[in-house]
């Protein structure tokens, strides 16, 4: 977990290299997210006071774009391809199976912080459709049935059992 002090420090560093101009809002949000992996509440407040814009406006912009996250990603961030090929090959079923298995909805992070789920557009290996990516590893030709099996090592890892 990132503490409030770490957030403030990171944000202060990022702010120091930017001018107090409203047009910097999106770049600032992006940089904070790259640095911290998500946009903590505190960071949003600090950006708002730096740019002297109302907090609601910062929230309005940040929640408008899909690229911004407000909770940290899970340790095993899982991306489900919903590109054309994967969609046609049943990507939706895979997503549903993952939501069931992980007990989270797309866009959420599990409470224990281990998994998060995201839908993405084509990841460039349509021959292997439908695909999912767990952390950096690609799992090809998925079926809802294979989802459970694929997740087992990751689910066991917190107990130190993942060998790779």
């Amino acid at each position: 977990m990132i503490t409030e002090e770490q957030t403030s420090q990171a944000v202060a560093e990022i702010l120091s290299s930017h001018k107090k101009e409203k047009k910097n809002l999106i770049p600032l949000l992006q940089e904070v997210q790259i640095r911290l992996g998500y946009l903590p509440r505190k960071a949003m407040q600090e950006i708002a006071s730096f740019l002297e814009v109302p907090g609601v406006e910062v929230w309005g912009v940040a929640t408008f774009y899909d690229q911004f996250r407000f909770v940290p990603l899970g340790k095993y961030h899982t991306r489900v391809c919903m590109g054309t090929a994967c969609h046609l090959a049943g990507g939706k079923l895979i997503l549903e199976a993952l939501e069931r298995e992980l007990d989270i909805k797309v866009g959420e992070t599990a409470e224990d912080g281990n998994f998060s789920l995201e839908r993405v557009a084509c990841i460039g290996c349509c021959m292997l459709a439908p695909v999912i990516v767990i952390k950096d590893k690609i799992y090809p030709k998925m079926t809802p049935f294979k989802v459970e099996e694929t997740l087992i090592p990751y689910k066991q890892e917190p107990q130190g059992k993942l060998k790779e």
Binding site: P54, V56, E57, G60, V71
Partner: protein
């Protein structure tokens, strides 16, 4: 001396001052145009399009949102016509499903009756949550432009778009203000805050997917 402009609204000769909007000019002349997102204390927003009118210039007609359209010398306006009535009817029909949980009441109900809108026609294709909010933005803009509290804002996009309160600002300003209760044309805010001092739907509810 401000420049006077003459124009014609519904066949009536009307004088307006430069910089006025068509809506304001009509109002002064006693001609009523319906609005949903317009508020006299706020900048024009042009979101609902219910104030659409026909403008004729040089033999061509165009539909414009009268709440934000400036008057021009010699323009001819029609505030009611078959085309306009059809537009307003469709707008109401599109708005209605988002009010479906508590029923189409208040201003939207009046307009639905006036324009013969079938408030259930888009019901079966409506996939979003009925939030009672028509996204007119009056509460948000009022809170920012008039009260300058900035305690309420829009978040999200498309069917996910919602009005939320920012708790850190709301706790400071809302208990003694609550002026947005009055401006909301659907009564959403008063209903959801249920008379309580502190607003119920906050940015945190939105982020945690509760709304």
């Amino acid at each position: 001396m401000e420049k006077l402009i003459s124009l014609e609204i519904d066949g009536k000769e009307v004088k307006a001052r430069e910089g006025m909007t068509v809506l304001e000019a009509a109002k002064e002349a006693g001609i009523e145009i319906p609005t949903l997102c317009y508020h006299e204390k706020l900048e024009p927003y042009g979101a609902c399009r219910i104030c659409s009118v026909e403008v004729e210039r040089g033999g061509r007609t165009q539909v414009v949102a009268s709440c934000g359209y400036p008057v021009e010398e010699g323009m001819k306006i029609k505030t009611r016509s078959e085309r306009i009535d059809q537009i307003r009817k469709t707008i109401i029909e599109l708005i209605a499903p988002s009010l479906s949980d508590g029923g189409v009441v208040g201003k939207v109900r009046e307009l639905a009756d006036e324009y013969g809108a079938d408030t259930s026609v888009f019901m079966s294709t409506f996939k979003a949550t009925p939030t009672r909010c028509i996204l007119c933005g009056q509460c948000v803009r009022y809170c920012s432009e008039v009260v300058a509290a900035n305690a309420i804002g829009f978040v999200g996009r498309g069917v996910e778009r919602r009005v939320v309160f920012l708790p850190e600002r709301a706790s400071r300003f809302c208990p003694t203000c609550r002026e947005c209760y009055e401006v909301c044309p659907t009564g959403k805010i008063a209903a959801e805050t249920d008379g309580s001092i502190f607003p119920e739907f906050s940015i945190d509810d939105f982020l945690s997917g509760k709304m």
